[in-house]
């Protein structure tokens, strides 16, 4: 029996959702106007056709694998999403409620189809958001795993670092002990060395004074040489002790703002006799306002050392100049220069002069009096005050020694 002759209740025909009835073999029995309009079909085009006609392919498969079995086994299927295929070929998304029951001696399925437009967009957005969230969670989990791995690595590194730190501490302790041992040794040695030297000096003096009998001029001359050697040795020992102390870092620097001009003026009286004796003149070019952040006593010592060198290595008639300026490369530093017109230092020896016990042979003089420690001590002290000493020179023209100090 078909429903072609049966007129559809106008209420049902026009209700705001699609309505369709179909048999177990899929043949459409009833379809309302709303559904026909939704899909663009005339009633005659659907009645008697298989319900699959109005389903998109994916939904046709779903009908066979899920929808129909549900109806057959359960008698109803609720809130089923289906994609309908309009006559034009476009897709119409619907939500279906269906009931299968006996009517007129056969099994008929009645289904209500509610078109989903906004809700579908809503669902799609939700599903997408869920996918994104799941991906983000996976990424976050991956990151977390990575972070945990790194944390473990850091912990291991930290353990290693602690081990290394302990090792370094152990070595530092050893080094410090060695340093102490060295200083103690040097102090003891210098004492041991000084004692006999003092004895030598003392007895020579007595001899010179004629305490042990008259002395001839030749003997006085010889005793004088002995004294000079003894003095030299004493100075050498003092310098060695000084250098050792400086290298151990056991020297304190009392840093104050000091006017460079003051230093120069304080040093001049000590060097003037030596300069005069060598027949040298001097010049000063030290701005009054320039200050250094330095230890006064040590600066004086350094300057004296440089001036002494300058006078030793400059021929009579030459000139020693003291100059000062702000460092051209850094306004936080000042330079105090000692410039001589002496024999000069070969370029390949400029760095070497600062090393302990180095003296540059000059063609003009035999070994010049001096321990060879002065410049190394001076440089250590300059560095200890945050500065440095450097040298420039031209053979036969002269040398410039520059003390670089923090500006005060």
């Amino acid at each position: 029996m078909t429903d072609e002759a049966r007129t559809l209740d106008p209420l049902l025909d026009e209700e705001p959702c699609g309505f369709i009835s179909f048999a177990d073999d899929g043949a459409v029995r009833v379809v309302n106007r709303t559904l026909l309009d939704m899909l663009g079909y005339a009633r005659g085009e659907l009645i008697g056709k298989h319900v699959e006609t109005i389903l998109a392919v994916g939904s046709r498969i779903f009908y066979q694998t899920h929808f129909f079995p549900l109806l057959r086994l359960q008698g109803h299927a609720d809130e089923i999403f289906l994609l309908l295929r309009a006559k034009s070929g476009s897709d119409v998304a619907v939500l279906a409620n269906a009931v299968r029951r006996e009517r007129d001696g056969e099994s008929i399925t009645d289904a209500v189809l509610l078109q989903l437009v906004e809700r579908r967009k809503f669902e799609d957005a939700l599903l997408e958001a869920k996918r994104v969230a799941e991906e983000a969670t996976m990424t976050a989990n991956a990151h977390r795993s990575e972070l945990e791995r790194q944390a473990v690595e850091l912990e291991m590194s930290q353990e290693q670092l602690e081990l290394q730190a302990r090792e370094l501490e152990r070595q530092r302790s050893i080094a410090e002990d060695a340093n102490h041992a060295k200083s103690a040794f040097l102090a003891m040695m210098s004492h041991e060395l000084r004692t006999p030297l003092n004895a030598i000096g003392g007895y020579v003096q007595l001899l010179e004074m004629g305490v042990h009998g008259p002395v001839t001029p030749a003997q006085i001359d010889a005793l004088g040489r002995v004294t000079r050697s003894q003095q030299h040795l004493l100075r050498l020992i003092n310098d060695l002790l000084n250098l050792a102390r400086i290298e151990s870092g056991r020297v304190d620097y009392d840093l104050q703002p000091i006017a460079l001009d003051d230093i120069v003026q304080a040093t001049l009286p000590m060097i003037e006799p030596q300069l005069a004796a060598r027949g040298l003149r001097y010049e000063l070019n030290v701005p009054l306002e320039l200050k250094a952040q330095a230890d006064r006593e040590k600066i004086e010592q350094i300057l004296l050392n440089l001036l002494s060198n300058a006078s030793k290595f400059t021929q009579p008639g030459g000139c020693v100049t003291m100059e000062a300026n702000v460092a051209p490369d850094d306004i936080d530093f000042v330079e105090l220069k000692v410039i001589d017109t002496g024999v000069g230092i070969p370029n390949n020896r400029l760095d070497a002069v600062f090393e302990p016990f180095v003296q540059v042979e000059s063609s003009h003089a035999a070994r010049v009096d001096g321990s060879g420690l002065g410049l190394s001590i001076s440089r250590e002290m300059a560095r200890g005050m945050g500065g440095d000493i450097s040298a420039e020179s031209t053979l036969g023209v002269g040398s410039t020694f520059t003390i670089r100090l923090r500006r005060g």
Binding site: D24, D25, G26, H50, E52, A56, V57, G58, S59, R60, I61, F62, Q64, T65, H66, F68, P69, L70, R72, L73, Q74, D78, E79, I80, F81, L82, L83, E123, L126, L127, K130
Partner: protein
């Protein structure tokens, strides 16, 4: 292979006969789909029903994504059930994708099976131009997967985590349990992909067990051309064309289905022993 398969696959055994008749459900459903057929056979046979892992009331915790991404995994379920019950001489009845699952199981252990009854079988659903018509394009299957996702299976996708966290809302899980389409959505999707993207044409020639191809009229999932293809390629097969339309004749037209199966089982068939090269 272990008694655990009985619980794992929700195995039900009943019937008065001795020869086992094993019913394998298709994609989308569970063993309930056989409810209109089994009464006709339970007096003469020993009926065995089961759910594949991931379907029906099987043990979901036994689900292994990689195993059940291929029909071989499901074939193993069939063999596991047979071994657990120590079945011999099995009449295997498979619907839809279970037809091919049965073919795979029979190829692995041909001596286990007496006959294969294949309802709406297809060795490959997607067309393979120029010669093979499976009935679908890949985009159609994508459309199916989308429809599945949007259905209350997909809805359960949202709720499932919430349900697990809300033991004080037992009515929700009860509802889902009652509706057999409520398998885990990921599992359902995997089964769909394993089914519709499979190609078992190469497995047909090795079949040693006699089979019945039950071809429905106007079945969009296993169309007539596919039935014809199978009857040519499946050795020892008999093709029966039903008046029943659609894809589920055992549910929509159980009487005709029962009659055809009974007729086939009454007819003796010779079992051709194939040489090893076909294996």
């Amino acid at each position: 292979m272990s008694p655990n398969a009985l619980r794992r696959n929700n195995v039900k055994v009943f019937g008065n006969g001795t020869q086992p008749m094993l019913f394998a459900h298709g994609f989308g459903c569970d063993q309930n789909m056989w409810r209109f057929m089994t009464p006709a056979f339970e007096n003469d046979y020993r009926i065995v029903l089961f759910d594949y892992v991931g379907s029906g009331k099987s043990d979901l915790s036994a689900y292994d994504q990689s195993r059940y991404s291929s029909l071989d995994g499901y074939a193993q379920d069939v063999l596991d059930v047979c071994h657990a019950l120590q079945l011999r001489d099995v009449i295997f009845v498979g619907h839809s994708v279970s037809s091919m699952i049965g073919v795979l199981a029979a190829n692995r252990e041909p001596d286990l099976f007496a006959r294969l009854v294949l309802i709406g079988p297809s060795p490959r659903y997607i067309n393979d131009a120029p010669d093979y018509v499976g009935g679908f394009e890949r985009s159609d299957i994508v459309g199916l997967l989308e429809t599945m996702e949007k259905n209350y299976i997909g809805w359960a996708n949202f709720l499932a985590p919430a349900i697990m966290k809300n033991p004080d809302r037992p009515e929700l899980s009860a509802e889902l349990e009652a509706s057999f389409c409520s398998t885990d959505p990921v599992i359902a999707k995997n089964f769909a992909e394993a089914t519709f993207f499979a190609d078992n044409r190469a497995d047909l020639a090795a079949v040693q067990v006699p089979s019945l191809i039950m071809q429905c009229s106007d079945d969009m999932i296993a169309p007539n051309v596919v039935g014809d293809y199978l009857s040519r390629e499946l050795p020892g097969s008999t093709l029966a064309t039903l008046r029943a339309t659609g894809h589920c004749p055992h549910m929509s037209h159980p009487d005709e289905t029962i009659a055809v199966v009974r007729e086939y089982l009454r007819t003796p068939v010779s079992r051709e022993r194939r040489s090893a090269q076909h294996a």
